[in-house]
């Protein structure tokens, strides 16, 4: 924000006195330019391309304005010559939504006890445990997902259990595997913000609740939970929104069936060579993301919590 002011108001700033510890807003300029080049410009390109036509040959776009990519999202010109409402992409978006929602709920349920537990350890143990939670970040997500695939593969230590029991049940290459992959990857993003809230929690509040006649579960529900709500909301935002656009888990664990929106988008830039449609799907995904950010913001504003989003 500050940096955008620099661009427009820099003459006025020259006379302003700088307080100690303040740096010149001009120092932020390279970063702003970098962000504009890597975020704003690609989004603008995506937006513009979504209104163009596919190239006659090769990849890319042809500069013919059309809304057909957007029409294509919801209307299908069927092979028998009729047109109909196209449920395919709505279904894929719905799948993405459901998988992300399940991921969010499961990571939340898993994170609450572990985050509370870490928050109540001695400081040295806390630091160690937080480092342990962040340990997966040290390893490439691709390699971790490969590792998970080995684990839940039909011959893996976990996936193979059904096989050895003689059951015809498979985890790998199912939506379940996709969701397991999402939970696995996003769990730390739920634990850390909840932990950060829980660590600041004043346990005398819990004692006060206990003292005023509330049993343990009531204390947790009515006092602890509302107090760590900012962390929970941050966690939900940090898990749900990226999960919605995730690609790798569905691709590597879901059996390559275009189960999530990002996989369909990737197909448009690869096999299908339909960039405008890929861009239209991306614009839709961006729109959904903004919508969910606004919803989460709305919830957090209503509850009066300080949650930093976007």
């Amino acid at each position: 924000m500050t940096a955008i002011n620099v661009a427009t108001e820099s003459p006025a700033l020259q006379n302003e006195q700088m307080r100690p510890g303040q740096t010149s807003p001009r120092l932020a300029l390279p970063t702003v330019l970098f962000l504009v080049a890597t975020i704003a410009v690609p989004i603008a390109i995506t937006f513009v391309y979504s209104f163009l036509s596919t190239a006659d040959i090769g990849t890319g776009v042809k500069w013919d304005f059309t809304l057909s990519a957007y029409r294509h999202l919801f209307v299908q010109d069927k092979l028998d010559g009729t047109t109909a409402f196209d449920t395919r992409y709505v279904k894929v978006i719905w799948n993405s939504f459901v998988y992300s929602a399940i991921t969010t709920v499961v990571t939340l349920i898993l994170s609450l006890p572990i985050a509370m537990w870490i928050a109540t350890r001695a400081e040295s143990a806390r630091n160690f445990l937080v480092a342990a939670v962040t340990l997966p970040f040290w390893i490439s997500i691709l390699i971790r997902t490969y590792g998970l695939r080995q684990l839940i593969d039909d011959n893996g230590p976990v996936g193979g259990v059904f096989h050895r029991l003689g059951l015809d049940y498979h985890i790998i290459y199912t939506p379940t595997a996709t969701v397991i992959g999402l939970i696995y990857v996003f769990l730390p993003f739920m634990i850390l913000p909840i932990y950060a809230s829980a660590e600041r929690f004043d346990f005398s509040l819990a004692e006060a609740g206990y003292d005023l006649g509330a049993k343990r579960m009531t204390v947790f529900r009515k006092i602890v939970l509302p107090s760590i709500r900012p962390g929970i909301i941050s966690g939900i935002a940090l898990v749900f929104i990226p999960a919605l656009g995730s690609f790798l888990q569905s691709d590597m664990l879901g059996g390559g069936k275009a189960n999530m929106i990002a996989n369909v988008i990737a197909n448009q830039f690869g096999q299908s060579r339909n960039w405008p449609f890929g861009c239209a799907l991306s614009v839709l995904l961006i729109g959904l993301t903004v919508l969910f950010v606004q919803i989460i913001r709305g919830i957090s504003a209503r509850s009066g919590d300080q949650v930093n989003l976007v």
């Binding site: 509040l205 006060a208 206990y210 009066g304």
Partner: protein
């Protein structure tokens, strides 16, 4: 005074320190607190007073001993079922709730009906002079207001005993004085038994009906403020309660030889204090009990400095290179000696006391 209401018998509690040692936070404490009493537990930090308060509240479980309240044993009842409530040092107001919700919380736990809760919340706020603050968020309150809400929250539960854990320590001096008076008033109005923990002896003196002085996990003296001030049982109490000059003397048949060679006559020592015929003995004389005598005082020395504090003048008198005494003189009336002047001091009447060390 009625018979014992809150009876604490032989409570022991020890903690393991990180270094591997054991600390006896409570070392066989027995106390009887009477109904409707404003009872103060006083002592330096780490003396065990807060641990005892938390044991009464049920937030801490003693290793052994029994606590009964109104004839019923309570030490094995969980905190949420004990008919006592606590005002925490940090207030512990629920930040996500309004003032009214904070106060109503404990009443909702009792499953009272809505109308009853509303009226009790209103009454509690009136008691602490915060009527009209129902809708405020607790983050919008000043320290003094938060303190009152914490008080109202506990009082609304109509506890048999209200426990207050250094509730005024975070307030500035002026506010603290005001709250002291108000707490005393509230206690008298409601008739609830207050157990008040503090490390501030002045606060203890001004509020307590009785004071238990704690040191190292034990109750060293239990009495009225006046008695504790006038008759400290040992040098710790004498020193901790108010200001006292503790002087190492040697007993003889005539009296006690004090540092610097002066003689404290037996007649200058309180009648209830026994003086042996020989041996070392500690004498306690409060600064305001000294008067300047012409000659042959019990203590002779040189005025090092003199400080005017309004109603009194404090002077420090160097007796020997190691011993100095503080003297408090009324600012009007008696002559104030100058710096460097040689003075002779004696306790007025029989105000000197001997104390166990």
């Amino acid at each position: 005074m009625t018979s014992s209401y809150l009876a604490i018998s032989n409570i022991k509690k020890s903690f393991n320190t990180p270094e591997g040692g054991t600390v006896h936070a409570l070392d066989d404490v027995t106390l009887d607190i009477q109904s409707g009493e404003f009872f103060v537990m006083l002592g330096p930090s780490g003396c065990g007073k807060t641990t005892l308060l938390r044991s009464i509240a049920g937030l801490e479980y003693p290793d052994s001993g029994v606590i009964t309240l109104d004839g019923q044993r309570i030490d094995d009842i969980p905190a949420y079922n004990r008919p006592v409530n606590t005002v925490f040092q940090s207030y512990a107001l629920f930040p996500h709730m309004t003032v009214a919700q904070n106060i109503a919380f404990g009443l909702e736990m009792e499953k009272l009906d809505k109308a009853e809760i509303t009226s009790r919340v209103g009454l509690a706020l009136e008691q602490v002079k915060l009527a009209g603050y129902e809708k405020r968020k607790s983050s919008q309150l000043s320290g003094g207001q938060a303190q009152r809400v914490a008080l109202a929250r506990a009082l609304a539960k109509k506890p048999k005993v209200l426990l207050l854990d250094e509730p005024l320590s975070a307030l500035d001096l002026k506010l603290r004085r005001g709250m002291q008076i108000e707490l005393k008033r509230l206690q008298q109005e409601t008739g609830i038994t207050f157990v008040f923990v503090t490390h501030d002896q002045e606060e203890a003196m001004s509020m307590g009906d009785r004071i238990a002085v704690f040191n190292s996990g034990k109750v060293v003296q239990l009495d009225t403020p006046r008695e504790i001030y006038r008759r400290p049982v040992n040098s710790f109490v004498a020193d901790f309660i108010g200001e006292t000059n503790l002087l190492d003397g040697v007993a003889g048949t005539d009296g006690i030889t004090l540092p610097g060679g002066g003689m404290l006559l037996r007649s200058q020592v309180a009648e209830d204090c026994a003086i042996p015929d020989s041996g070392a003995i500690t004498v306690a004389i409060r600064p305001e009990d000294f008067e300047i005598t012409d000659t042959h005082g019990a203590i002779t020395g040189t005025v090092r400095d003199s400080i005017f504090t309004g109603d009194t003048v404090r002077i420090h008198v160097t007796v020997t290179p190691e011993v100095e005494v503080a003297v408090s003189l009324p600012s009007y009336g008696a002559r104030i000696p100058d710096r460097g002047e040689k003075v002779s001091l004696s306790p007025s009447g029989n105000s000197a006391r001997t104390v166990a060390s």
